[in-house]
Symmetry: D2
Subunit: 299 residues, 4 copies
């Protein structure tokens, strides 16, 4: 297993050493694709994959994701970024360029339900999640030994109604300054606006319903009481509105009248972990752009 | 095509001549299955299919559907029903027995969108919908010639805010006393409580969203604005609460950020017609029992 | 209904008057996207949608689909095509540019099963299938009146083992020279290599199984006998190898032990018509490129 | 986590202490359901769930699964079984009655791919797989520490072309006489007919394709080469015919031209583990009956 993972990673790493991903959002207008692709060509970059989407041909927003190879990327990227500034300004772009070899660093938050954490660790261990899991933070101590057996630091930060503010402060300290993404893997605490502000569009939550149905607590009980024939799960970025942030991914499973709440939970667990894993992978691969309360997902 | 349909129907009709379906709802208790199956056996009936479901083994509700063959059914059913009265009373059952050969009579309500009507007529013509389509009622006259080309009576009953009450009165007159099921095949008018009372649990509506998400008008626009990644449709019995009645069937389809409202509508049309057709078929085959605001579907 | 269709079509037609779609296949190499997008920009075209795919970054094939608007397209397209010749030659491209307003002309072949034909006509009538249905050809006369009620010419060309060659000759005569796509909508005759040669990658067949499982006749009986838990349908381009051509689209539906062959057929019909309709729509919208025995579908 | 599992188990165990499951296969005939349910009622048993299926009303096979509660089950079951012998003989039944509290004992075979094993252990640990995992047998030693961390015995039995016979002999010794089910969780060795004979309809394999497509080795490479748009996995009982045994469960996932073989494998892993877990759960809950080369699954 050890060997298997390493082989996958080595192959991937060689391929990715000189690869970068560019994400662009801007008002639509003529010539953007032409300008960007010509710019990259003239700077010696080879476009491997390019996706774009225009929300509305007349006066809407334009979104683009370009994956490209550039010889000696680490050495040459700063110059390319400096030169691209002019292009970005011309089209009023928000843009970023990420080196693929610079893996994103994740902090996973978890409470007592372990299935989403187990899934993410399994994807990570199998070499399918191209990120570093920098730490796991939990308001319970139950999963310490499991997490630490992977060599991942585990921080137990209890949260009560009274200590919520201090707990978040402690979380921020532990997280420090080099975490790219926070994953709420069935973390059963509401995140404060202050905390969200630190990680705008960088906190992914898994909600155990097919949003916008069954916002809030006990969604499986709500689903059972409504008598739905299909249940689902939703991965979304966390905003100040409870379960109201931009949706990244959803999936569903058929159920029947004979499934009680416990069975809905059991079926739902598999949906939740698959949906969360997809959303996290897409984010780490720079496939998700956020515009207002919606996502553009290039996958 | 003519020939094909007739063959299907003939084979089915022979098989079904002596077949009946019994539906039972009652408080759960020991010995129900044993009593019912023994009763049928002793009356010369052969059980072809039997399904049951107990909502909760201790003190819940019990639901049962039995399909059985009885020699000379038409002649012998009245005596069997009379004798079953004692069993029904013993267990406080609500029960019905339907002859399969006595097809249910449907009235389809439609406005301007034709896809659900087209679907039902296609299933009916293909011999897959085992019911009689007795009439189509519409608040517009657009589909008259299409409907009449199938030999089905078409009634144009306009509805405005002012004439709603009279229109419903006229609908009831046209429907008369021998319609078993009303199907709202994208009929864009709200049904009054008075009308609903006439057809309790016998009006099926197709709502063009994955309920309970996006209740009310313009659900595809709502779905687009919320940025969902999956859309759906829901067939449900109509109650006094708008889009709140017992759900019979739902289905969904994956969409992406690049699908605008018109594309959601287009994708949705195929979900709507499939979901509505399934719900209508299940109802006509006595597969749906209603308890409070939920359905038990034996399929 | 009449009005509804026309409104859709008018809106679409205005939008599409100056729109074109370019399809490119060529060996991969640096600078293709940059060169094409720069070319279009310099010729006054605005890229509305661009998709590309490289089969293998090192030495594989490159595929591209560009949707663009060009003012006064009809007048300006010939010059643009003439100028693009140099780009095409430089990268050894196979390329085509289609005016969106120039709808593709379809000939639909059908035998006795009508569901796929009904579906295509419904999509077409609803304004969702952006093509002209120029004619329906059948080896049976059953559907003449149905087809003619849409104002579509119907040609009855009987086929027997002995007359097959003559029948195909007659089909080719009826088809003439301005048909873009032949759709085998459950046409139960094998097409000869000679006929296929006339319409290479322009004959779409619907096979009623999840290929490559259950090639050949009676796939639902084969599926029943194997006891599969999911059945499917496959739309593919017709090649000389029976049911072996490039797959455009597939879909599936869950079944159970209790579904007999007739029920598999019934369930399958809905899969077949949905899958075929999607494949035909994608082809008519220039979304499908064929390479060897596989398709690239930009959707 | 520890606590959570135990609570689930305790609640389940109390409920199941007096619960049994009866499985019946026999030629169809009148009165079977009536006789069985009357028998159970007269012996003081309360039917909790009853499912049956007749392959063909006239002269086919009949299958039944009854879940029932009997006071003091352990004490009273032997007498009930003795008395039922007469019923079984009357209808030429194959029948078994299993105490739910007597959990099935599993031996899991695995090679180098760990995802199916991880899944089964996660379901087991979460209290969702109602069975005992008695041992893991592998032809490699890689997963020893992982398996042993759950307190499950791990047996490393290497297999080469030359030592196959001895290896199977050793496996049989290790397995002993009290294993109910063998699960091949991506065990990449072909099982000999001799071994199969010991565990007829008690070896479940997961094949990484949508059978009967892509029998044998490298199914994902086969799927890629054929250009399918959907991939799948199949759980089946192992018979002497390679990948040809009775199918228990299948599921699928949509893919596209842009997914290479490695990506198909990655997507497939999630299908495989879900499908295998379902099949194993259904088998352990006595939901699967085998008739010839097909399964009847009551779920």
């Amino acid at each position: 297993m050890e060997v298997h993972v390493k082989q996958n990673q080595t192959a991937r790493e060689e391929q990715q050493e000189n690869r970068a991903r560019m994400l662009i959002s801007c008002p639509d207008g003529p010539g953007i694709v032409a300008t960007v692709s010509r710019f990259l060509f003239e700077h010696g970059a080879n476009i491997v994959q390019s996706d774009q989407y225009t929300m509305n041909p007349a006066g809407g927003m334009f979104f683009m994701r370009v994956e490209f190879d550039l010889p000696e990327l680490s050495k040459n990227l700063p110059a390319l970024e400096r030169d691209f500034q002019a292009v970005g300004d011309q089209f009023k772009m928000e843009w970023t360029i990420n080196q693929v070899s610079r893996k994103k660093r994740l902090a996973i938050f978890v409470s007592k339900e372990d299935h989403c954490l187990v899934e993410l660790l399994w994807h990570w261990q199998a070499g399918d999640l191209d990120a570093d899991i920098a730490m796991v933070i939990s308001n319970h101590n139950d999963m310490r030994s499991y997490v630490e057996s992977f060599g991942i630091p585990f921080h137990h930060i209890p949260v009560t109604a009274d200590t919520k503010k201090e707990a978040e402060q402690k979380q921020l300290e532990v997280i420090g300054s080099d975490i790219d993404l926070i994953v709420l893997a069935r973390y059963m605490q509401i995140i404060s606006p202050l905390f969200i502000e630190h990680f705008r569009n960088r906190i992914i939550n898994i909600h155990h319903s097919f949003l916008p149905a069954f916002v809030g607590g006990k969604p499986y009980a709500q689903a059972y009481n409504r008598g739905v024939k299909i249940i689902g799960a939703t991965a979304h970025y966390v905003t100040e509105e409870l379960d109201g942030g931009p949706i990244i991914e959803q999936d569903v499973q058929r159920v029947s009248h004979s499934d009680n709440v416990n069975e809905l939970k059991r079926i739902g667990r598999t949906i939740e972990r698959v949906v969360l894993a997809r959303a996290v992978e897409w984010h780490t691969e720079d496939r998700v752009l956020v515009h207002q309360n919606k996502t553009v997902v290039f996958n």
